[in-house]
């Protein structure tokens, strides 16, 4: 029998009936009386001065209620890591897709037509589309005011480089000197898009107190709220954000995007305004994952032991920094991989260009780094004539050793995930035995989570049900169900008696939100603490009622009982009634879980992410068949094993593993935002190809449980890791199948075809 009654159960989520019947409300479904429809005019110039905006024809169109530009918006710079943007471009545009103006009208058709009537006079400026061009000594400055921008940290910045950070451990020069062999390669990862099925949308209105209210499907309620208020130059209490169901996050719904514009339209017209992006706008004006260039140089002994590793990351930020600084920080933080690298140096530079305004996607820099690092490990193995698995096993990181000059590793489980994935995939039986043009490849992942802050309250209601008050939104991952399971376990009641309240920014406790795989660990710990707090309140009442010492009270299985005297007990409902009506309520517990420090902290010349709460490991094995005449790769089988600490909801964990790895397969073989002269050439689901049900292989999704004492009931996290290893696992499998290594993703048929040709395979 399981030691837990709510934890470890695949409890069906509370939202699924509403979603299965079409009753769940998303931002795109919202409607308010008297609502107007918004449309944004985006820049079609990659770099240009705005000389004049003539909105007169647009304003004159019958049915148009407002046309706004930067002149109508606060001139308050905002941004996540670096405050480098405005709501609308003011004196210049720095990329295609940047908002320049917006319209509110009585119908979408009129709003669309009006946006087309706005005349913007641009004076083009020199454009920079490559990292080389943007970093030339005499390159024009895309952000002349860079030195004065406020940032979360005092980033090193110059020219078009908005962040230059370095992490060092040991002495790489000595490490390379000790090496018998040195391997070096440069890897490229393409810009990709979250491609959530629901386009970005929001609805804003002025309430009766003249406060701005915005409904939006956000991953980070608190962050969206504070950024919205900041951008509007308002106190946060003057703004209310109400979260609704979101049709997919994946890093695309982290903060604000449309909300400021929608709010300004609502305030100007004094009517509710709804803004919904078209699918083309979704691909071209929201923030896809930035393209990365990663050079890795590794020194090894002949027996495979790593002596030194040097990593150099270049990130194309596009016109604004958005989340790219954070992804770069995260990338170098995990750049040594789950390996013992005594001498390591990692550098990241985030560079402004006039490419689209890149942001982040699931993985947050670690997906890009994992492709590079795990392809590199395989290349080293091949160069040494070693099996790629043996090379990894030889170099696995150890409990207690520091990661890139920050805190020591804990809860290391990579050997275990490797063993499980290799066994389940039949790696050792299949390696070398698969037949012509078939191959098998392995990749590990290393990720960190547990940072920033979460707080929660737990309230016991008069009917002995329990309500959780949390600021974390459930973006479809099942977060709220896991919170319910945690509270139910702590209080010894059934999950059905626990619900999560529908809150908003007025009422929700602060939570950093659904980002970076942190909700189970951070938000879950906050809920656990809040539930324990209220359990303590209940225990005091029970002790008094049952006439025993507080330490003798056990609250479990729906009862509060005296240990050793089970007949001296109260049913949970009775206990609640006494607490509320006799001794006096309320029964309200609160809990708060803070990381030991900020998201990143200065470490030497750089910023490492940390200290973090815990460390995540995993291993993927991909089996592929390559049609060497066309370059098409078919994934035959895929195995994934993830270190999750404790699977609080196994079905939820499996759902994240399967869903994440399929996104990873998409990024490995098909997905790429094709940018030509700053313009995205494939802004549709027809040409930005995400996997269909005919493109996914048979999947074995496994998890390894070794409870982490710092996580709620031992849980660590799972949201992002599954998207990280597929690309290198597949690239390594393609190498195994063909002898050809492709150093960039996606490995499209054409890309592989030319690589095979160049190597004389075809």
């Amino acid at each position: 029998m399981s030691e837990y009654q709510a934890i470890g159960k695949s409890i069906p989520r509370g939202d699924t009936v509403a979603k299965a019947t079409g009753r769940a409300v998303f931002a795109t479904d919202l409607s308010r009386p008297g609502m107007l429809y918004g449309k944004i005019l985006h820049s079609d110039q990659a770099h240009a001065r705005i000389m004049h905006i003539d909105a007169s024809q647009a304003r004159a169109l019958p049915g148009v209620k407002a046309v706004i530009t930067a002149a109508d918006a606060p001139r308050r710079l905002f941004g996540i890591y670096l405050k480098d943007r405005l709501i609308f471009a003011a004196d210049r545009v720095r990329c295609i897709g940047e908002p320049v103006a917006a319209v509110a009208a009585v119908s979408q058709a009129i709003a669309d037509a009006a946006a087309g009537l706005i005349r913007v006079e641009y004076e083009t400026l020199p454009t920079l589309f490559s990292l080389e061009a943007a970093t030339l000594p005499d390159a024009p400055e895309i952000h002349p005011g860079l030195a004065d921008y406020q940032g979360i940290y005092p980033y090193i910045r110059y020219g078009n480089v908005c962040m230059d950070a370095r992490l060092t451990q040991g002495d790489v020069a000595r490490g390379f000197a000790e090496a018998d062999r040195i391997f070096e390669d440069t890897y490229h990862t393409a810009a990709t898009h979250q491609a959530a099925l629901e386009p970005h949308a929001c609805l804003a209105e002025l309430d009766e107190d003249e406060r701005i209210t915005v409904w939006t499907g956000t991953q980070q309620l608190s962050v969206t709220h504070t950024e919205l208020a900041l951008a509007l130059d308002l106190p946060i209490t003057a703004v209310r954000v109400i979260p609704v169901w979101s049709g997919g996050g994946f890093g695309g719904r982290l903060k604000t995007h449309l909300e400021q514009i929608c709010a300004l339209l609502a305030r100007t017209t004094r009517k509710p305004v709804k803004l919904v992006l078209t699918r083309a706008e979704e691909f071209t004006t929201t923030h896809g994952r930035a393209p990365y260039v990663i050079r890795i140089r590794t020194g090894v002994k002949n027996d495979g032991a790593i002596t030194a590793k040097e990593i150099d990351v270049l990130v194309d930020a596009g016109g604004y920094s958005d989340h790219t600084i954070g992804t770069a920080t995260h990338a170098i933080t995990v750049s040594q991989g789950p390996y013992h690298v005594p001498n390591c140096q990692a550098r990241a530079r985030v560079i402004y260009t006039n490419n689209p305004d890149w942001g982040c996607m699931r993985g947050y820099g670690a997906q890009e780094m994992t492709f590079a690092s795990e392809s590199h490990m395989d290349g080293i193995a091949h160069g040494l004539g070693m099996d790629p698995v043996e090379l990894r096993l030889k170099n696995l990181c150890r409990e207690g050793e520091p990661i890139l000059s920050t805190q020591p590793l804990r809860a290391v489980r990579v050997r275990e995930t490797m063993e499980a994935a290799l066994r389940a995939s039949g790696y050792w039986q299949k390696k070398g035995q698969l037949g012509p043009h078939r191959g098998i490849g392995v990749a590990n992942l290393f990720h960190v989570t547990g940072f920033l802050s979460s707080s929660a309250s737990v309230r016991v209601n008069e009917d002995a049900t329990v309500t959780i008050l949390t600021g974390v939104t459930d973006i479809g991952t099942g977060t709220h169900t896991v919170m319910r399971q945690i509270a139910a376990e702590v209080l010894g009641i059934s999950v059905e008696r626990v619900r999560v309240a529908a809150l908003d920014s007025d009422t929700a406790p602060y939570d950093t939100g659904s980002i970076s795989s942190r909700t189970t660990y951070d938000s879950g710990n906050a809920v656990r603490l809040a539930a324990e707090h209220v359990r303590g309140q209940l225990a005091r009442v029970a002790a008094s009622s049952l006439g025993c010492a507080l330490e003798e009270i056990a609250i479990e299985d729906g009862w509060a009982a005296e240990r050793g005297r089970p007949e001296n007990r109260l049913a949970f409902a009775e206990l609640v009634a006494i607490a509320l009506y006799v001794t006096g309520g309320p029964l309200l517990g609160s809990g708060s879980w803070l990381a030991a420090g900020p998201f990143a902290q200065p470490v030497g010349d750089g910023y490492a992410q940390g200290p973090v709460g815990t460390f995540l490991f995993g291993t993927h094995v991909a089996e592929v068949e390559v049609d060497v005449e066309t370059g098409k790769t078919r994934v035959l089988n895929f195995t994934a094993c993830h270190d999750v600490g404790k699977a609080l909801n196994p079905a939820g964990v499996i759902g994240q593993i399967e869903g994440g790895l399929v996104q990873g397969i998409g990024c490995s073989l098909y997905e790429e935002l094709q940018v030509e002269q700053g313009h995205i050439a494939n802004p549709s689901f027809a040409d930005y190809r995400i996997p269909t049900a005919l493109d996914t292989p048979p999947i074995k999704a496994l998890y390894d449980e070794s409870p982490d004492p710092t996580g709620p009931f031992g849980a660590k996290g799972i949201g992002e890791p599954p998207i990280m290893p597929p690309a290198p696992a597949i690239a390594n499998a393609i190498f195994d199948a063909t002898g050809v290594r492709v150093l960039e993703i996606p490995i499209t048929p054409e890309r592989l075809f030319w690589a095979l040709r160049d190597n004389g395979i075809v």
Binding site: L41, G97, A113, A115, L117, V120, P436, Y670, T692, A693
Partner: protein, 312 residues
């Protein structure tokens, strides 16, 4: 430099459709087209899967739509003696499961099955697929190797045209004002032959063909061989690779060398472009490869796997 910024991907004009009329017969359709003739904006609507996105992105602004999707004379597949007659408004989903398309004629069903998705195939029609005249239309190469003829109807009566003269350019057909495509006619004798359509695209579903190749082979009553080759997505229109066909037929035997040479010849007849989906060079290489594979299949019944293991 003054530029009027165009909103991305939005409806550029209000009232993108000027009028919509549903008709119940070919005569009614022709009458509606005549009524709209002075304005030149009549567009026939069948499935709408190509037309509606075009209308809403402003590429067919102000259209007077004539909905022919329910016209009985334009529906269905029937045998007309030795010939098969497919109504132009027959849905692709119905073509996929038609019991008339057996033997070599199955290639039409197979190609229709690769268009879009189940949902698209329940709207899209064969006539619509042809009239949209995309160079990469999946049904076109299959119909070309089956010697399809199109029946075009106007107030003046009916005229027939071999399909390869129907495509005039990307998105352009030989239809004149006042004409509509009524039916596609297939000679029944291809039932006795072998035919295949191979589509090269990154995903297993939903993609436009990067290259599409169809091949057909049969023997005439006197024993002499007939070969057809058609290529999609590698020229301004779907094309018959006639020089490659002739080359193959002049070869002493249908051996590997003859197949390779015919494939090279077909690739040379192609004039692919580079676009967001593929480069011209890759398309040309894939055209040759797919012709080889298609020929091995129809000439020798050899599958792609068999061909590969023989080659390696």
């Amino acid at each position: 430099m003054a530029t009027r910024s165009q909103p991305i991907g939005s409806r550029a004009k209000m009232a993108a459709i000027q009028s919509y009329t549903r008709v119940g017969s070919i005569q009614q359709a022709l009458a509606q087209m005549q009524r709209a003739a002075p304005f030149g904006n009549a567009r026939l609507l069948a499935g709408g899967t190509d037309l509606l996105p075009q209308v809403h992105s402003g590429r067919a602004a102000g259209a007077a739509l004539v909905d022919v999707s329910d016209v009985p004379e334009l529906q269905g597949i029937s045998a007309d003696g030795e010939q098969l007659r497919i109504g132009a408004a027959t849905k692709l989903a119905d073509i996929v499961r038609s019991p008339f398309l057996t033997g070599g004629l199955r290639v039409l069903a197979d190609s229709a099955a690769q268009v879009g998705s189940v949902q698209v195939r329940h709207l899209a029609t064969l006539g619509g697929n042809l009239c949209n005249a995309s160079p990469s239309a999946d049904t076109a190469p299959a119909l070309l190797v089956l010697d399809a003829v199109v029946a075009i109807v106007s107030q003046a009566g009916e005229r027939r045209l071999p399909l390869d003269r129907f495509f005039v350019g990307p998105g352009r057909t030989a239809l004149q004002p006042g004409e509509l495509l009524a039916a596609i006619l297939l000679p029944g004798r291809w039932r006795e032959g072998a035919a295949t359509y191979l589509k090269h695209a990154p995903r297993a579903a939903m993609d436009l063909a990067v290259v599409g190749v169809a091949a057909a082979f049969s023997q005439k009553p006197n024993g002499s061989p007939e070969v057809r080759l058609a290529l999609g997505a590698v020229a301004p229109t779907p094309i018959r690779a006639r020089r490659a066909e002739a080359q193959l037929l002049s070869a002493p035997a249908f051996d590997e060398q003859a197949i390779r040479e015919a494939a090279a010849c077909a690739a040379a007849e192609a004039s692919p472009i580079s676009d967001v989906r593929a480069s011209a060079a890759y398309r040309r290489a894939m055209a040759a490869l797919l012709v080889e594979r298609a020929l091995r299949l129809v000439l020798r019944g050899e599958s792609i796997e068999q061909g590969r293991s023989r080659a390696s």
